[in-house]
Every structure is written in C-alpha cells, then in structure tokens.
C-alpha cells in the first residue's frame, strides 16, 4: 500500500516505485558516487575543507552534496565485550603505530556508508512545502522543482534526516532527485551506475527489499550479527524509505536518526490544540471587556 504513493499523488498508471538499497557492508569508501552525482547533476563545488574526520572531508548531505560517504573509524571491542562505539574514539596514528599489537584488546575497523535522501513514503519536506515546489514523481521519489521554490526554508526544518538544504548562492532548496532526468529515459541514477562494488543498488523497491532480506540473512549466517536493515520497514515513523540501507552498527553511529518520525503525523493534533488556543484567546478578550465599565 505504501508503494502506491505515486498513484495517491495523482499519477495514473505509474511505473513500480523505484529506490536505492545501499549495502554498506561492501562499500569501500571510494566516493565514486559523490563524484558521479556532482558531475551528472552539475552541482557546484561547496568548499574544500580538511575535517580530520577520517577520510570524510565532505561532512554530510546538503544543498550541494546529494551523496555523502561517511567514514567511521572505531575499535571493535575485545571478544566478549559490548559492541559499538563513537567514531572519534580512535586515534588513527596511535592505531597505526600499534598495528602489530592489538591496542585495547580490540581491532580498528572502518565503516563506510554512502548516504542519500531517503525519498520517504511520508515525506515531511513535501508535506510542509507551501508552494508545491516539492512533488512526488511517478517513480515514487521526491523532487524539488527549482523554478517554483521560493526559498522559504520550511522543508529544511521539517526533514527528520537533515537532508534538504537551501543553497546560499541562489536561496533555493536542493537535494537528490533520484536522477529524475535519467529515470525518465530508462537509465539508472549516476551514483548507482558508478558504484564499483554494487554497494548502491537501484531498482524497483519491492525487488530491492527481497534482495536486502537475502543479503541480511547471508551476513547473519556468516556471523555478522550486527548487520541490520535501516529504513526498509513500511511500518516505521516515515512509512519506510525509498532509499534504505544495510548497516553494520547503530544508525546514529553513521549520523542517521535511530527512529525518525514524519512531523506531519501529529499535524491534526497540532491544529486541534491551535484551534482550542484560539478560542481561549477570544474568551480571554471577552473576559477582559466583561464586567467593569472601565
């Protein structure tokens, strides 16, 4: 049902809903996707900065970064200890010096993950956009029409993943389009095309979900108990993502919200409270005028 969003958005006889399955367990952090995306979509350069965050100098998704490869360096705990870890608790240079030994008893591991707009089933950005600039395509993806966007910035505060952003140079909101132009002529998005390890897989969402379930079972069987799918469940707070992931640690380690909820889920409640408050205000004013003559 959630995959019928294109029809719900008024498209008659839409193609199957398309999306990404990003399997981070095979990502090698080459950033081919970042480059291919920038090239194909002619996205402007947005600063060259050395962050010290492992090999990640891109930092995050934004108006001019529609694919972002995260690099997490963490020390896996010694056998038997609890799992997980914040990325910046490893000094790489110390780790390199001690490569023969095993500092702290664990091993250093790298997690790499290519992040992208989730093309949510219930997309907050689209819900709140006052101009109708953001719209649902026939493929089920969420796209900004830049000639209509007036730069109000509402979508920016509404997105629970911190994806969409206003570009300072032109004041409009920008994000991944799932390569709408390429899809229209039967091509796959530039990032998926360029990915050398098939970490980024593009296809009908239905099919991707099956493939992901298979891959997860395979990893679990191989002993990777931490492997998990993120955003594939249509019952989650955003109705499932059109772009979902296989992760090897908790989502927040990669900078993803662990349990995002589309803000407009509470909108009816918000209007009810606002209506009651409006009535209170009117009553308050009436009370102010009632009674005493002065």
């Amino acid at each position: 049902m959630t995959d019928d969003i294109a029809r719900a958005a008024g498209h008659t006889d839409p193609p199957p809903r398309m999306g990404f399955f990003t399997d981070t367990s095979v990502c090698i952090g080459c950033k081919a996707c970042e480059v291919a995306c920038k090239e194909w979509n002619a996205i402007p350069e947005d600063g060259l900065e050395l962050t010290g965050m492992s090999y990640d100098n891109t930092q995050g998704l934004g108006a001019s970064t529609w694919r972002h490869v995260a690099f997490v360096e963490q020390r896996t705990p010694p056998p038997g200890a609890a799992h997980g870890g914040a990325p910046d608790d490893v000094d790489v240079f110390d780790a390199a010096r001690n490569l023969t030994g095993s500092p702290g008893g664990g091993e250093v591991r790298w997690l790499m993950a290519s992040d992208v707009c989730k093309h949510c089933t219930h997309a907050a950005c689209l819900d709140v956009c006052p101009t109708g600039s953001l719209f649902r395509t026939e493929f089920g993806s969420v796209v900004v029409q830049e000639d209509i966007c007036n730069g109000c910035g509402y979508c920016v505060s509404a997105c629970p993943y911190g994806v969409i952003e206003r570009r300072p140079e032109d004041g409009r909101a920008w994000k991944c389009t799932l390569c709408y132009d390429r899809l229209g002529v039967g091509m796959e998005p530039a990032c998926a095309k360029s990915c050398p390890t098939e970490s980024i897989q593009f296809g009908p969402l239905e099919e991707l979900r099956e493939r992901a379930a298979g891959r997860l079972a395979q990893l679990h069987a191989a002993g990777a108990g931490d492997a998990r799918l993120y955003g594939e469940d249509p019952r989650d707070g955003v109705g499932g993502d059109g772009a979902f992931f296989l992760l090897l640690d908790e989502p927040e380690v990669y900078g993803l919200p662990p349990d995002p909820v589309v803000t407009t889920r509470d909108l009816p409640g918000m209007w009810r409270h606002a209506a009651a408050a409006a009535v209170s205000l009117a009553a308050l004013a009436v009370a102010g005028f009632a009674g005493r003559p002065r």
């Binding site: 963490q74 990325p87 007036n150 109000c152 408050a277």
Partner: protein
C-alpha cells in the same frame, strides 16, 4: 549500546558546549553520533525575521480582538490604537516573512496551492484574508468614513485574529526540530497568551488610562496563560525541554518572564494609581505596556533559539529516539 567506548567522545562534546558551568537538568544520557555532527539541519530562518514574524502576528491578532471589543463598548481611543496596531503589525510581519525568503521575488508562489498539510500555506491564505481586513478597518478609522464597511472589517479581523495569533505555533511545531515539535500541545496557548500581552501592552503604552481597563485585564489574563502554558510545556516535553535551559534561550526566557509578569503586575497596580493621581498612573501604565511588548518579543526569541539549539546538538535527536526504540523492544512492539 553501553560501554566506555562512547564516553570520551561524548564528554569532549559536552565540555565544548556547556562553557559556563551550567548544570544539566537531568544527567546526560550516553549516545553515539557521527563525529558529534548534528543529525538535523539547523533552521535556516533568521532569528529576527522569524521571531519578529511570530511576535507581530500575535500582536496583530490579539489587537483585532481589542479593536472589536473597544468598538462595541465605545472606547474610541482604544479602538483606534488597536486597529492601527493590528494593521501596522501585520504589514511588518509580512515584510519579515518576505525578507526571510531565499527568493523574495517569488513570494506570491505561497498562494500557488492550497495545501492543508503545510501550515505555511494555510498561514499564507489566512493572512491573505486577514491583512486586508485590518487595513480596511484602520483606513475607515483614520478617514472616519465608510463606517459600516469599517465595522464589518473590524468584526472580520476579530474573527480571524485568534487564528493569526495561534497558527504560528503550528508553523514551528510542524518541524523535525525537537524543542519545537515536542511542545506542539502547549505552544499555541503560550503564543495566545503572548499575543494577548503584546496587544494589551501596545494599548497600555499608547492609550489614556481611562479607556484601558480591558487592556489591563487582558494583560493579566494573557500573562497567566502565557507563563502557565510555558511552564507546562517545558515540564511535558521531556528531554527537549533542556534546550530551553541553554545559555541563549534561557536568557531570553528569563527576560520574557520578568518583563511579562512585571508588566502585568504594573498594569494591574497602575489601575489603582490611575484612579488617584492621574499623571503618575499614565506613566506607570505606559511603562507596563512597554514591558509587556518587550516581554512578548523576548519570549518568541527564546523559543526560537531553543529550537535552534536542539537542532544543532545530535543529543536532542538521538537520545529520545533511542529511548523510544529501547522501550518498544522491551514491550515487543515492532
């Protein structure tokens, strides 16, 4: 999700943020993040534009109520100030809104669609109806002509005024920003009260005390509603309330509380004085009015900055969501 692996990183982040020996309301929960970077994008709205928009909308909406009441109860000076105030405030608020757009020239695209899921769309339509009514009411007042049309416009503006004053709470609550969203139940009452104190403040500052009885009572009732709802909101919003304790929001909200409570008390007390020494009463009510206006503006700035703080710190996004997941896995829900 426990273990010493996270502590070092988190502590470093904490120390950076809480510079001035401030106490956390509840002990910090452990959480992981991507190099301490925010999960959400910082709201791109400019503080003065948006806090100003919220403040002026409240001032205008509640002034329209005072204007209608003053007309009905034959208080011409109060009616005049309230009508001019509503028209002026809503014009300025529209200017603030347009100024905040990335593409101001495309402002009219706000009215391209009618979209109930977008509070900004609904608000634009609301203002498109409301602003002309306030202008018509003010024009009839100033010119002294078209009395029937003026009265109809005044009544219409008063009918829409409460919505204008409270819809802005929905506007900011309908975001992923934790310290705005989590307050969605109480925020409209906070804004309703804040609008009432602002409108009463303007009347007290500008109108002779003989006609401001309703404004004084509105000030007191508004202050009680505003400050009471604010307390309740902060008590009920869980961890998101902590953002209201951080330096910048806290300073604004302290100022708001002092100015609003002080202004309301002064307005109530000024009534007694005005009855006796008219001159001194006039000065005191003017002072009370100014304090109420400033208090309402400070409240909007405090709320605005609390939201920004909560968006910039991944703690406010990650911890409640993680807690939610933990609770759900305990009860076995999906």
């Amino acid at each position: 999700m426990s273990g010493g692996f996270r502590d070092g990183a988190r502590d470093a982040g904490r120390r950076r943020r809480r510079g001035r020996g401030e106490q956390a309301v509840v002990p910090d929960a452990e959480f992981a993040s991507y190099y301490g970077r925010p999960v959400l994008k910082r709201p791109e709205w400019k503080p003065l534009d948006v806090a100003g928009y919220l403040f002026l909308g409240g001032l205008a909406g509640a002034s329209s109520l005072l204007a209608a009441g003053a007309d009905v109860t034959a208080r011409p000076a109060l009616a005049r100030t309230a009508k001019l105030g509503a028209a002026g405030a809503i014009a300025l608020s529209l200017a603030a809104l347009v100024h905040d757009l990335g593409r101001p020239a495309r402002f009219l695209l706000m009215l391209r669609v009618f979209k109930p899921t977008s509070p900004m769309s609904m608000g634009s339509w609301l203002l498109a109806g409301y602003a002309p009514l306030t202008m018509a009411a003010a024009a009839a007042e100033v010119s002294g002509r078209y009395r029937t049309a003026g009265a109809a416009a005044t009544a219409g503006a008063a009918a829409l005024g409460p919505a204008v004053a409270t819809y802005t709470a929905v506007l900011i609550s309908d975001t992923a920003v934790p310290s705005w969203h989590e307050g969605y139940r109480e925020m409209p009452y906070v804004f309703a009260g804040s609008g009432a104190t602002a409108a009463a403040g303007l009347a007290l500052a500008a109108v002779e005390p003989a006609q401001t009885g309703p404004a004084r009572r509105t000030a007191v009732l508004g202050a009680v509603l505003e400050l009471g709802a604010l307390r309740l909101m902060r008590r009920n919003m869980g961890q998101a309330a902590e953002a209201y304790e951080e330096d910048r929001p806290r300073a604004w909200l302290r100022a708001a509380e002092v100015l609003t409570a002080g202004g309301a008390a002064l307005a109530a007390g000024g009534a007694a004085l005005a009855a006796g020494a008219a001159g001194r009463g006039r000065v005191l009510t003017a002072l009370a009015g100014t304090a109420l206006l400033a208090g309402s503006a400070a409240l909007r700035l405090g709320v605005f900055h609390a939201g920004v703080v909560s968006a910039e710190d991944p703690r406010y996004t990650v911890v409640p969501q993680r807690d939610r997941l933990t609770a759900r896995s305990r009860t076995g829900e999906p």
